[in-house]
């Protein structure tokens, strides 16, 4: 029998009734309670992500707090084979039932079924164990999750892409089918036809239909290309047409997947029957006030939790943090030239036209010297996209610099910026012209900020081509250097070659799969949603610099609201997507969209913010801009973000496959999901208004490649300890790293089995290649230059260590050589 002594306060309460409260039971025995345990299912599997709910009941009901603590027995080990959300359950007074979740963990080891007996261990006073007092679980090994190469192979993945060119009499549709998967597809067929767009989202019957043609079996990485000519003669003038190509879907159990299986390309005929290839200004009434009516929905600029035409709103305060700049209407990007290097730019869009440099934009498809594949009648200085299903570049431009306070639509991050459109993506050529190495046709050398919301799909074995951006950062802006802002990619959930539960945590394809992302002269941007969490699609990696708002899909949760090709029969609104397209009061003419997302939207938010910084301090160098952003980025507190590192047992040793936020040796915080964190505009402006002096980071220098000179090293198979190697760097201790590049060379039966981590002399650890990276699935030759920004500001001097872990059983390989080099300055 146990007794408790009550305090004087609770004695007063006790006098009010005959409760069984501990505190009121002065010198009276507590009412004994019995606790029992139960669970619905006892046969668990390693990959059951939701876990199993475990219930504890106590009888009888008592007016005091009771707690029970779980005890474990069996072959399963806590933390390796399972975890329990609440090892100690506390019952409030009169509460008789409580639960927690038992979560099997996947250690990826092929092993026997584990046993686990969950029982009630330590108990609060006057609590005893009833029947049943324990539950016996089994945790079966998930054979499907064993990481043998054969099980990783999944399927072919066909990707359809169409492109159009025009002559006076025909529209030529070029159709490309890629296999991004790692199996050969079976033969299939494709149908191509032309339809009139009757109303947004609704097509009429086929005006023209081609015979189905065979798409040959495509090996991994292979492509099929063909083209079709549509005659314009029989089409109605003043109408919009959509051509589409459609690949037969393989019914369930098929050996390939098609995403998307139907791809459109639209065009509009003018009143004389010619395809519209230039921007013809629409009539739009100006509002009675200067207010931008859609501004209240622009959560990325000022997040109040508004829904922004989606079903649910975000989290108030999770935005660009530019309240002060908005209220002061200063800076606004005035005098700063920003290039939208993209699919096009609608230079006469009602909400963009005032900010567009009309005679300085450029249409690479309008070159009259071309003999084919161009756009007949297009003007060189009008990068108008004839494809009427939405112009990515026009939407990017609105995020950067839609005109503010003009009584219509919305405003950009930098509402007075000068916009230039270079339709580089419509031609896929001419990087020199589009990125600053040209002073005529177009004059891209006058650009201050280049926005590059694009990237490659899949891994390309090429070294990053940094020729043009090295020139641009050295020579443009009178030697201060242009700023290159690039989207990280949308491949977090893009598990093409295989999927594993850990991909939910670390992502399917890393941002390092696009070689251009590994160029240190860029600002590589990840995407955040309206809750301030990493957007579901945003690619992650050590080459990220910063993150910015972009949103989800605008259906359940907000996407970015921005300009769209104007008119109801053009643009994303012509597809009649959910959102603002359904709300004619908010967008009476179909000039805006509320579904724009991707790192494509995060990059222009950043480019607009950079324009504000350059107006505020025109003397900023490109390195200053990166420094300011890294120094002022904030860490989002969203509960949706990962809150711990991902440690996994490989072989008999623990391996870390994703690191949580780290603070590096120079005091900068870094995370592969976010770079240095979320962009904070007001903080960045305040930073440069403070003691910061432009062009004071010392001369930037590039070290030689510093190479490991030892023997070929075998990568141990399926061993969390991995291969470790080190080399000494003898650079000045006072140097500050601005970027670290790693060059790895070797072979492995499957590169995606490998995690590659670099540790600096300061002890900062950065994962440069995540394990099971789909971007390199199936490759065997390791010859790769990777980038990490995690060491920013640290001294390069000292011992650097590389660690390569092979996480899967069966495949083997070796590291032949590795080297590192540094871009470094001397920071105050």
């Amino acid at each position: 029998m146990q007794f408790v002594l009550a305090s004087s306060t609770t004695m007063l309460i006790a006098s009010c009734g005959s409760s069984d409260s501990d505190s009121s039971s002065r010198l009276r025995p507590l009412t004994p309670v019995t606790a029992t345990i139960s669970a619905r299912a006892t046969e668990l599997f390693e990959n059951s992500r939701d876990g199993e709910e475990v219930w504890v009941d106590i009888t009888p009901s008592v007016n005091r707090s009771v707690w029970v603590q779980f005890a474990f027995e069996g072959t399963a080990t806590e933390g390796l084979d399972f975890a329990i959300d609440d090892p100690l359950l506390t019952f409030r007074p009169n509460q008789t039932r409580a639960s927690t979740t038992l979560r099997p963990l996947n250690d990826w080891l092929p092993e026997e079924t584990e046993t686990l007996t969950l029982s009630l261990g330590n108990l609060s006073t006057a609590t005893s164990v009833g029947v049943p007092g324990s539950v016996a679980f089994t945790i079966a090994d998930d054979g499907d999750q064993e990481l043998t190469p054969a099980q990783k192979v999944s399927r072919a993945e066909l990707f359809l892409y169409t492109d159009a060119s025009f002559s006076a009499a025909t529209a030529k549709l070029e159709v490309n089918v890629w296999n991004f998967g790692n199996m050969t597809s079976s033969e299939t067929f494709m149908a191509v036809s032309l339809h009139r767009l009757i109303r947004p989202g609704e097509l009429g019957r086929a005006v023209e239909e081609f015979q189905r043609i065979e798409v040959p079996p495509l090996g991994s990485g292979e492509r099929f290309r063909t083209s079709f000519d549509f005659s314009l003669a029989a089409l109605s003038h003043g109408r919009t047409y959509w051509s589409y190509a459609e690949i037969d879907r393989v019914p369930e159990e098929g050996d390939y997947n098609v995403l998307p299986n139907r791809e459109y390309n639209g065009f509009t005929l003018d009143s004389r029957g010619r395809i519209l290839v230039g921007c013809e200004e629409p009539n739009r009434p100006v509002g009675e006030t200067e207010t931008d009516p859609l501004f209240e929905h622009q959560w990325s600029l000022q997040n109040s939790g508004q829904k922004a035409f989606a079903a649910h709103g975000g989290t108030a305060g999770e935005d660009l943090q530019m309240q002060s700049a908005i209220e002061a209407s200063q800076p606004t990007g005035r005098g700063v030239n920003v290039a939208v290097v993209d699919t096009g730019l609608e230079i006469c869009h009602p909400d963009l036209a005032a900010n567009v440099e009309r005679n300085e934009s450029y249409n690479f498809r309008a070159d009259l010297r071309r003999e084919s594949d161009g756009w007949f009648n297009a003007e060189l200085t009008d990068p108008y996209l004839p494809d009427s299903r939405g112009d990515h570049g026009t939407s990017v431009a609105g995020v950067i610099g839609a005109k503010g306070n003009n009584g219509m639509g919305l405003r950009g991050v930098a509402p007075d910026v000068r916009l230039f459109g270079f339709n580089y993506l419509s031609e896929n050529c001419c990087r020199e012209d589009a990125l600053g190495a040209s002073n005529r046709e177009p004059n891209s050398a006058q650009i201050d900020v280049f926005n590059m919301s694009f990237g490659t799909f899949g891994f390309q074995y090429s070294y990053p081509d940094d020729t043009v951006v090295r020139y641009g950062t050295r020579q443009l802006r009178a030697g201060l250097g242009a700023i290159y802002v690039k989207a990280a990619g949308n491949s977090f959930g893009r598990c093409v070659s295989f999927r594993h539960v850990i991909h939910d945590l670390i992502g399917c394809s890393s941002s390092n799969g696009d070689p251009f992302n590994n160029v240190p002269h860029l600002i590589v941007v990840g995407a955040l949603n309206a809750h301030g969490a990493k957007a579901s699609y945003s690619s992650v990696g050590s080459n990220l610099w910063i993150s910015a708002p972009a949103g989800e899909y605008g259906v359940n949760e907000p996407a970015s609201i921005t300009t769209d090709q104007f008119g109801r029969y053009r643009g994303y609104s012509s597809r009649n997507w959910p959102g603002i397209a359904e709300n004619q009061d908010a967008d009476p003419y179909g000039d805006y969209g509320s579904n724009f997302n991707g790192t494509s939207a995060a990059a222009p938010h950043t480019a607009g913010a950079v324009a504000l910084l350059l107006e505020e301090e025109p003397g900023l160098t490109w390195r200053d801009v990166k420094h300011v952003l890294a120094s002022t980025a904030r860490r989002s507190n969203s509960s949706r973000n990962p809150d711990q590192s991902q440690d996994v047992m490989i072989g008999n040793r623990l391996a870390t496959f994703q690191r949580h936020w780290i603070t590096n040796g120079a005091g900068y915080m870094f995370h592969n999901h976010f770079g240095f964190g979320a962009l904070d505009v007001d903080a960045a402006l305040n930073f440069i208004r403070g003691d910061f002096r432009p062009d004071n980071l010392g001369e930037q220098q590039l070290s030689e490649w510093i190479s490991y000179a030892g023997d070929v090293l075998n990568i141990p198979d399926h061993d969390g300890g991995g291969l470790e190697s080190s080399l000494n760097v003898d650079l000045p201790a006072r140097a500050n790293i601005e970027a670290a590049q790693l060059w790895v060379n070797g072979t492995h039966d499957n590169l995606s089995d490998l995690s590659i981590e670099l540790t600096s002399p300061s002890g900062t650890r950065s994962i440069l290649n995540q394990v099971f990276n789909n971007a390199i699935a199936g490759d065997t030759q390791l010859d790769w230059q990777l980038l990490s920004n995690a060491f920013y500001g640290e001294s390069p001097r000292g011992l650097w260590r590389i660690k390569i872990i092979d996480a899967a059983v069966g495949d083997t390989g070796s590291l032949d050589s590795w080297a590192i080099r540094f871009w470094h300055g001397e920071h105050p």
Binding site: F224, R225, H392, E432, S453, T467, Y471
Partner: protein, 179 residues
């Protein structure tokens, strides 16, 4: 003037070869371009004439399926194919790299480093060249070729030109997509 005419003559030689290719004649000439330790080979027209071509340790043949075709290199351990192209579209310029045992699709541009602007001007006046642009700050110029001009043949000619310090093939870049 002398330089310009010389350049034009060289390109005319290439053009005549290509016209022959364009009408389907069997041109047995095997073109190859060497860049550092890499060697790229043109597929001779015999490949298209139901024949095959031996390049290094590979036998190159044409595989047809419906309206599509591709080149296939039969190697000792495996067969390697190019992309599939439709016979209804313009034939792409595909080369075989004997250094890596892979096919590569060429862009209709070549990159050159000339000894003087005058040389570049002369090259630009060639009938095979649509336009040229000098990226002086980057140290090179780009020549845009007519679709009928074989970039590999053009580069081979340019590499033999003493006024041209360097001529480099340009490959189709990985497609960049909005994202």
């Amino acid at each position: 003037m002398a330089s310009a005419s010389c350049s034009t003559r060289r390109f005319l030689v290439v053009a005549s070869c290509l016209v022959a290719v364009g009408i389907g004649a069997q041109v047995e000439q095997v073109l190859a371009v060497h860049e550092a330790d890499k060697t790229f080979h043109h597929m001779a027209e015999t490949v298209f004439a139901n024949g095959a071509q031996k390049i290094a340790d590979a036998e190159i043949r044409l595989e047809r399926r419906g309206v599509a075709f591709r080149y296939v290199a039969k190697l000792e351990t495996q067969n390697v194919g190019s992309h599939w192209y439709s016979r209804t579209s313009r034939r792409p310029w595909v080369v075989y790299g004997s250094h890596d045992g892979r096919f590569h699709e060429l862009d209709s541009r070549v990159r050159v480093e000339c000894d003087s602007p005058k040389t570049l001007s002369a090259l630009a006046n060639s009938p095979e060249v649509i336009r040229s642009k000098d990226y002086g700050e980057l140290g090179y110029a780009i020549l845009w070729l007519r679709p009928t001009a074989n970039p590999l043949a053009v580069v081979q000619e340019l590499q033999a030109d003493p006024r041209v310090r360097k001529a480099v093939l340009q490959f189709k870049r990985p497609r960049q997509f909005p994202q």
